[in-house]
């Protein structure tokens, strides 16, 4: 049993960490969020050069043959730096769906995704907030030689900016959930774009008889793709939690009230201790579940445990960080609240902690 990052993974973390320290500090990130562009095209290009866009895919697929632990290794840093680029959606979800499909159109688009020439969004959510494809109601109807999609998708990360969409819908009335490829300019698409509370570009998208190509994936493939994406999203959350613990501890040791650092008050000291305990739990579950998944042994329950713990513990750490910072913690100027918003978003997407706890408790 070994839960350490390998030397190669450590080197990857070092180089990406250096890049983010230099080019993606909090001020730079806030400029991005306030700007017109949905994210930094330059950062995305840099991720392509680091090989991150091709990393999770096998060499036969044209990827670099990286493992889930490779992705977790750098995704923690994405969380630490509050990266707003749509890595999980475009690479772990849409990219993985395209890679698994034998369709020519999917293969063409996939090649552009890993080359950094195209961004594909993943249109899955319909408002239930669960990872389960069982809740999908959008239905694909056969029309001529192809099929058409009608309905609405919500919280499509990068949905208004992507070159194409991978859409989850049922194969005909009452059919099994399946994935479809839609071109961004297709007739019948109507987007309402917005930023999420954690600074990412997203859209709610209406589909009105939109032409689509079926991606012919196995039903279990969708579950596996979502499970891997959840692990990476949790790695981001754990990275954000670690940053919050460090920032808050530092603040409590320097901020003085009543003539002494506030960390000397036991109520504050114990809150810092609880943040550390929560972080230890979340990170242990992240590393263990990643190692399980790498060995092909992570069950749905294992994934649910990781997701639930990161959701609950992330919220708790975020709230404790704001409280410890006092008034300044409630402002937009400080990173603390932005970390908290990222953690809330990570909790809400693909099933919040309450949903997963109940699934776990049902046995």
């Amino acid at each position: 049993m070994d839960f350490n990052y390998s030397e190669e993974q450590q080197m990857l973390r070092d180089s990406i960490g250096k890049y983010l320290e230099k080019s993606y500090d909090f001020d730079a990130r806030q400029k991005l969020v306030r700007g017109e562009a949905p994210w930094s095209a330059e950062a995305w290009q840099q991720f392509a050069e680091f090989g991150l866009l091709a990393l999770p895919f096998s060499e036969e697929q044209g990827g670099l043959g990286g493992s889930i632990s490779d992705c977790v290794a750098f995704a923690e840093l994405f969380g630490k730096h509050l990266v707003i680029e749509p890595y999980t959606s475009a690479v772990m979800l849409a990219g993985a769906a395209l890679a698994a499909s034998g369709e020519a159109a999917a293969q063409d688009t996939f090649a552009k995704v890993i080359g950094g020439e195209a961004v594909v969004a993943f249109a899955f959510e319909e408002g239930h907030g669960t990872p389960s494809p069982a809740h999908i109601t959008m239905t694909a109807a056969v029309e001529g030689a192809g099929c058409v999609l009608s309905g609405e998708k919500r919280l499509v990360i990068a949905g208004a900016d992507a070159d194409a969409l991978v859409v989850a819908a049922r194969n005909g009335e009452g059919g099994a959930p399946a994935l479809f490829l839609v071109e961004a300019g297709a007739a019948g698409l109507g987007s309402r774009a917005y930023r999420t509370i954690d600074g990412r570009s997203a859209a709610d998208i209406r589909f009105d008889h939109v032409k689509a190509t079926a991606l012919d994936l196995l039903a279990t493939a969708l579950d596996d793709i979502v499970a891997r994406a959840i692990i990476v999203q949790c790695a981001e959350a754990v990275g954000a939690m670690g940053a919050l613990c460090a920032i808050t501890t530092e603040y409590a040791m320097t901020r003085k009230q009543f003539g002494v650092p506030i960390a000397t008050f036991q109520a504050i000291a114990h809150r810092l201790a609880d943040m550390k305990i929560a972080y230890c739990k979340a990170r242990a579950s992240l590393l263990y579940t990643t190692a399980l998944a790498q060995g092909g042994a992570a069950s749905q329950r294992d994934i649910a445990i990781l997701k639930a713990q990161c959701g609950k513990l992330g919220r708790a750490i975020g709230e404790a960080a704001i409280q410890t910072h006092g008034g300044v913690g409630t402002t937009d100027e400080l990173s603390v609240g932005h970390y908290h918003k990222r953690l809330i978003a990570c909790d809400a997407m693909f099933g919040d902690h309450a949903y997963h706890f109940r699934k776990i408790g049902a046995g």
């Binding site: 230890c280 739990k281 790498q294 649910a304 609950k312 706890f357 776990i360 408790g361």
Partner: protein, 402 residues
């Protein structure tokens, strides 16, 4: 990163499960099912200890040359998982987990030769004499005094919360040998060869659950040889701190036991009607609560696995405090959920039915028999071994050094 899933490990699992299915006597099994504390019923626990010793499996965490098994981390976890599945009594930590590893590291050649064999075989059981009536969380303020006299020490004072001292034939303890300097500086670590020295009195204390688990030990001019000292005189505090590091490697930790409690709670809930209709196990609120508990126990298990594999978490100076805080609070939460499932079924006081070999049929189920004693006993878990308030102080202090 990797976890070994080699097929040989499944053969190992089958081998372990086979032993657990066949070796324990009915009394040992009964003791396992009736364990309502981290301390199992003494007599049967030690019988089981001796059987494991004969098998060579009594101390998986010890170095192989001293009687350990030489197993991989995966094997140790498989062993722990199968152990819990079989509901067998956990072995007592004071001997195998505390004084044994301490002597391996810091004992003299004579001390090792004299004491390690009895610790391994289970012929000896060691009590831990640390706390005193006026020195609980502030352990370093202890005042039980040892005066040098020739080759001996004369001990005067008392110890309290000395678990199973009434069953112990040996004892390790902290005594005050000097009042000079800082309070930590005048402490000495002593091994007591016997617990029936003239002047030594042991008084069991009845706990909330109705059982005499803890004791008070009184010393009145008790003469013990200085050859029982570990480390130098007045340097016992660092010996005690070293011992603490062994709690890191004692076993696979608490999570397998706690997960087992959750399974038992789910089984019991499946046979319990909900006042809202249907069975309790299908109640969404119950599922939500049990799921939250199980997820938290799973995280503790992941943390324990990281630690036992040698991951850097184990080198964090706050590790023992983090581990203790998590494990104790989850023990309380698990037993709370158990009492909720039992409901009024947990209110009967059933000390006789709980006694191994009493042949008294419990009122209600065996689950109802143990849930309340477990809950009551677990109130101590956040108090002993350094209260959780002290643990949080230590964690916070370690952040200052980080």
């Amino acid at each position: 990163m990797n976890i070994d899933f080699a097929p040989e490990l499944e053969a190992f699992r089958a081998n372990v499960a086979e032993f657990f299915a066949t070796a324990p006597t009915p009394a040992i099994r009964e003791a396992g099912r009736k364990t309502t504390s981290v301390f199992a019923p003494f007599k049967e626990c030690m019988e089981w200890h001796r059987l494991l010793f004969e098998k060579g499996w009594v101390a998986p965490h010890w170095p192989k040359e001293h009687g350990g098994t030489g197993w991989s981390v995966e094997q140790r976890f498989i062993f722990a998982e199968e152990y819990r599945k079989a509901d067998l009594p956990p072995l007592l930590a004071q001997s195998l987990g505390m004084v044994g590893p301490l002597l391996i590291d810091l004992g003299t050649a004579e001390q090792k030769a004299r004491y390690l064999p009895g610790i391994l075989s289970g012929d000896d059981f060691w009590a831990q004499g640390y706390s005193e009536p006026n020195s609980g969380s502030d352990l370093a303020s202890l005042s039980c005094r040892a005066e040098p006299d020739g080759d001996d020490y004369i001990i005067n004072g008392s110890k309290i919360w000395t678990t199973y001292a009434h069953h112990a034939n040996r004892m390790f303890m902290l005594v005050r040998t000097s009042n000079e300097g800082k309070k930590q500086q005048g402490i000495t670590f002593l091994l007591l060869d016997r617990t029936d020295y003239p002047g030594m009195t042991i008084r069991p204390i009845i706990g909330l659950d109705g059982f005499p688990e803890q004791c008070e030990v009184f010393f009145e001019d008790v003469r013990v040889p200085q050859s029982g000292r570990v480390g130098a005189e007045n340097e016992g505090w660092s010996v005690a701190k070293h011992l603490l590091t062994h709690e890191r490697g004692v076993s696979s930790g608490m999570s397998p036991t706690l997960m087992r409690y959750c399974q038992r709670a789910r089984q019991a809930a499946a046979a319990t009607h909900s006042p809202f209709g249907g069975m309790l196990a299908d109640d969404p609120v119950f599922q939500r609560e049990l799921g939250e508990l199980e997820a938290d126990i799973a995280s503790l298990g992941h943390f324990e696995k990281l630690a036992i594999s040698g991951h850097e978490v184990v080198h964090d100076p706050a590790f023992p405090s983090i581990n203790k805080t998590m494990a104790s609070e989850l023990t309380q939460r698990a037993s709370t959920v158990m009492t909720q499932v039992s409901g009024v079924g947990g209110l009967a006081r059933q000390l006789e039915a709980l006694r191994v070999g009493s042949n008294v049929e419990p009122l209600g189920s065996e689950f109802d028999l143990i849930s309340m004693p477990l809950y009551l006993n677990s109130r101590a878990t956040t108090i002993y071994a350094g209260s959780n308030e002290v643990q949080r102080d230590l964690i916070a202090r370690s952040l200052a050094g980080a």
